[in-house]
């Protein structure tokens, strides 16, 4: 046992590890989110006539729309697990900065969302028959940037939504307008990558994604303590 409170990064990692351990031992949320994402891929495929819309045109939008919706499922869980036995009170009473609680939760969510993406993106290549292997590396970069933006905002809103009367209904309502710039930028970048367009064409979109991550990463970390103070 340490006698001095851990630093910000160490403390964040402790919180993240706690969340990941809970998830690893139960595995319920991860698998249901994964199945939800795969179901989404198939349902979207059958929502268009394949003779009029090519799967390659459809794929980027479907991927990032599903990313946003399945992300919400994981985010809901983030502070939901702290509801039982008022575990949140214990977490706040621990000698950790509030920012560390937020960052730890966000890192756990990032790994959660990343894990879902790790299966969903190859599944998209398989189901939609799109050649993603050639653009795997830049696509992974886009996925990471999109996931950072999504969890930055989603983790903060999750901490608020669990304490409201509407709980899980409220999270999508608050989060989705914030996901718009992420979904649009990620879809447009992916579409240009898939079409083999020069990188300069995707740059304006990537710039929005980068700025979003930076601005909301900082803003949400600073605002989180306000949502948990007594």
């Amino acid at each position: 046992m340490q006698s001095t409170p851990p630093g910000l990064f160490r403390a964040s990692w402790l919180v993240a590890r706690k969340d990941l351990a809970i998830e690893f031992r139960t595995r319920t949320a991860f698998f249901s989110t994964l199945v939800f994402a795969l179901l989404g891929l198939t349902i979207f495929f059958f929502a268009w006539d394949p003779t009029t819309v090519a799967a390659i045109d459809l794929a980027p939008g479907v991927l990032w729309a599903i990313f946003a919706f399945s992300g919400l499922l994981g985010l809901q869980r983030s502070f939901g697990v702290e509801q039982a036995d008022r575990a949140m009170d214990a977490l706040l009473a621990a000698p950790l900065d509030r920012e560390a609680v937020y960052l730890g939760k966000a890192v756990a969510n990032l790994l959660f969302v990343g894990g879902v993406q790790l299966v969903t993106i190859p599944a998209l290549a398989l189901f939609y028959n799109v050649p993603l292997a050639g653009i795997a590396l830049p696509l992974a970069g886009v996925a990471l940037l999109a996931a950072i933006g999504l969890v930055a905002v989603g983790t903060l809103f999750s901490s608020m939504a669990v304490n409201t009367r509407l709980a899980e209904l409220l999270l999508p309502m608050l989060s989705l307008p914030f996901f718009l710039p992420i979904v649009v930028s990620a879809s447009m970048t992916t579409a240009r990558l898939l079409a083999g367009r020069p990188a300069a064409e995707a740059w304006p979109w990537l710039r929005i994604l980068l700025a979003f991550d930076l601005v909301f990463g900082v803003a949400c970390t600073l605002l989180f303590p306000f949502t948990v103070e007594e």
């Binding site: 903060l156 409201t164 605002l223």
Partner: protein, 240 residues
Amino acid sequence: MTTSGSSSARVTTASAPSQGVDWLLVSGFLAVAAFYVRAIFYTPIEAVQGPAQKILYVHATSAFVALYLAFGLLGIASALYLWLKDEKLDLVAESAAEVGLVFTSVVLVTGPLWGKPIWGAWWTWDARLTLTLFLWFLIVGYLVLRGAVEDRGMRARYSAVLGLLSIVLVPFIHLSVYLFRTMHPMPIVLKPSSPSMSPEMQWTFFPAFGAMALLFVGLLRARYRLGLLRDAVAATERER
């Protein structure tokens, strides 16, 4: 706790408005009615668009009030609340959001009415139209959040956080939807060269902003006073 509760209730009751005609609100409505009479009967009909162009006078002015006054005030009051923790600021933010929702709804209703004869479609995914729609979603989300939190302090903090983040989001939505092609008319009145609007139209258009802003302030004050009265009633009930 009881002592401080009852004293704050007395203060609130004392600052609550007295009954009577809300002259600010009445003059706001009269000013808007007056500019609309002028817009319809004493302003020339636009050569290309015909009578449909008269929607401009309510559409553009409401958009100005919704985006700059209401939404701006929501953001500023939210930020100040997190800093100063003054309940009045929370009430200002709530009032700005509710009145702002009315003006945003007016923009969203009059836009398609104007768009149909001029663009040939009720709705287009034009940049400014999409931005207004998302403003509407943000304000609705904000008000739903307020309604879903029981505890007063928590409600104020949560909604201030959301209000502040919403303001930060607006440029991002604007940028991302702007990269899609926009078909909205570019500013034709305030461009550096001479404005492409006849003097009579300008004489209707510019005062219309003032009238709409006056109506906004009137509605905002009325809503704010309603909030004060509601709090005073709640405080009295707690005392019993």
